[in-house]
């Protein structure tokens, strides 16, 4: 094979297999840093040997085996300089079934182990996110830092601290017991959804990098669905796909925010909608679905509608009732109020929004004031609308959102 073809083959193997290989090496070596180093060494060995010997029949097994060998070798070399009994962890390596890594099922388990370890509740939430993107998705620390608008050293520190805790407090490299699975899966799904939203609702920073975060989250969602078949994981994947289907339609070429009602629906990604809707049906058919699935079902109703007016608002309001019963929150109530406004009339919706605001729960929530402003605008209550737009503006930190509210405000006339 010519050299470039081999290089391409190795790059392709890296792309497809490096995270799997890493997940298995962490299990075999019992240490994140040693596994990363071993992964690196294994690919360096591949770059040397594959051009000469050809790409092995099972590249993943070759890489795991090479990485493991290199790591044991490195430990041996180090232990020669250390005191006698201090061959760190040397005894632990090798006690694992030597063939386990070749078994596709246990390799899949390794990927799940990695996900659940990175999203362990004993780690700080921002560390869970950083570690998942770093270890499961293979993003570089600088990329994650850029995407989250965090200085790279801060992010690197976060990852180092999390790995230190995994090691010192001995967070096990395990898929949780069935009895703990629902709670632990919640944590994993929360991390994935947070990554998705960071990419989706982002407005500051390099928009391209942040779009990548949404794709990364969808990829993670697919991985969890593939490995676990849990209804809520399916629901979350559906939700992300259905939201992402509107990506191109929700901003103008100039970067202005376009609300759902005004989007050009021909620009929605039909492929994502088809896949998302099918996933919603699959999740709903199981008895174990939860809030993500209901939110996905709501998104599917929108996706199905030819226009905002022709949307089945009764269905959406009904789904919000279910969601509210499942996970009561003032934000869900607010969304329900908007659906009720579309179903029963703006007056009815405004009354609900005012009730929520009067309780004080969402007094500092920009979208509550924006929703009130919008309903007042539709009802022709201009001065109230203006007041609520102003209030929402004082709470908005996202630039496109600010411009959107400003535009609405100036459309009301009479000066801002």
């Amino acid at each position: 094979m010519p050299a470039e073809t081999i290089q391409d083959a190795i790059s392709a193997v890296y792309e497809a297999e490096s995270r799997r290989v890493l997940a298995t090496l962490i299990r075999l070596l019992g240490d994140f840093d040693a596994a990363e180093e071993a992964l690196h060494d294994a690919f360096r060995a591949a770059l040397e040997q594959w051009p000469r010997d050809g790409v092995p029949a099972n590249p993943r097994a070759w890489l795991v085996s090479a990485g493991r060998f290199k790591a044991i070798d490195a430990r041996r070399r180090r232990s020669r300089f250390d005191s006698l009994e201090d061959a760190p962890g040397g005894g632990a390596v090798g006690v694992v079934d030597a063939h386990a890594w070749a078994d596709p099922e246990s390799v899949d388990d390794d990927r799940l182990r990695l996900i659940f370890t990175c999203c362990h509740p004993a780690l700080a939430p921002d560390a869970q996110v950083a570690l998942t993107l770093r270890e499961v998705c293979g993003l570089r620390t600088e990329e994650i830092a850029q995407a989250f608008l965090t200085p790279a050293p801060t992010l690197a520190q976060r990852i180092v601290r999390a790995k230190g805790k995994i090691r010192d407090a001995r967070i096990p490299y395990q898929v949780p017991e069935p009895s703990e699975l629902p709670m632990r899966l919640d944590a994993v799904l929360r991390v994935i959804y947070l990554v998705f939203n960071e990419g989706y609702s982002a407005s500051a920073g390099d928009s391209i990098t942040r779009t990548d975060l949404s794709s990364e989250a969808i990829r993670l969602g697919r991985l969890v669905v593939e490995l676990l078949h849990e209804a809520e994981a399916i629901g979350l994947l559906a939700l992300m796909l259905l939201h992402d289907s509107r990506r191109d339609a929700r901003t103008s070429p100039a970067g202005e925010l376009i609300v759902l009602e005004e989007q050009d629906r021909s620009r929605w990604n039909r492929e994502f909608i088809r896949e998302g809707a099918a996933l919603v049906r699959r999740a709903l058919s199981s008895a174990r679905f939860g809030p993500y699935t209901i939110q996905a079902a709501i998104a599917a109703v929108h996706a199905d509608a030819p226009s905002a007016d022709a949307t089945d608002w009764a269905e959406i309001a009904g789904l919000y009732d279910v969601l509210l019963a499942m996970s009561p929150s003032p934000v869900v109530e607010l969304n329900r109020a908007v659906a009720v406004a579309m179903r029963d009339g703006y007056d009815a919706g405004l009354k609900l929004v005012d009730d929520i605001l009067a309780r004080g729960d969402l007094a500092d929530y920009r979208l509550a004031h924006a929703a009130r402003a919008d309903l007042c605008r539709r009802l022709g209550r201009i001065s109230e609308a203006r007041e609520s737009y102003h209030r929402a503006l004082t709470m908005t930190r996202q630039e496109p959102e600010r411009r959107f509210l400003q535009r609405r405000l100036s459309e009301l006339g009479g000066g801002a």
Binding site: F81, S83, D86, H120, A122, D168, A169, R170, I171, P172, Q174, P176
Partner: protein, 116 residues
């Protein structure tokens, strides 16, 4: 692996959990071989702080930190990993009233460093 489970309680809840219940919890853990030691503490008003500075022992009343919860007792447990430690900690009765801080115990490094 050893973990120290530190029990924190607000002063008002010092006696919210019956001693009998805590003793039972300790007995259950001891039977399983998971308990190395466990003791309840008197409230922080009874605490004395000792420091040695410039060779002199300095004794003060307290500490009286501004925190709401104070150390009320401890369980030194033996668990395979953090997951098991968390499971055990969640069954320590005052977890309902206050909080349990789970800290992995570190080995003292007594190896002599031989210069290479």
């Amino acid at each position: 692996m050893k973990y120290l489970c530190l029990v924190y309680l607000e002063r008002a809840k010092w006696n919210a959990v019956a001693d009998r219940e805590c003793a039972n919890c300790g007995d259950t853990l001891r039977t399983r071989g998971a308990l190395l030691a466990a003791e309840p503490l008197h409230p922080v008003e009874t605490a004395t702080t000792v420091r040695v500075r410039h060779g002199r022992t300095v004794v003060t009343d307290g500490p009286f930190a501004e925190t709401k919860e104070q150390l009320a007792g401890f369980y030194l447990i033996d668990a395979v990993d953090l997951n098991e430690a968390i499971q055990i900690a969640s069954r320590i009765p005052p977890a309902r009233e206050g909080s349990i801080e789970v800290r992995p115990v570190r080995e003292l490094d007594t190896s002599e460093n031989i210069p290479a």
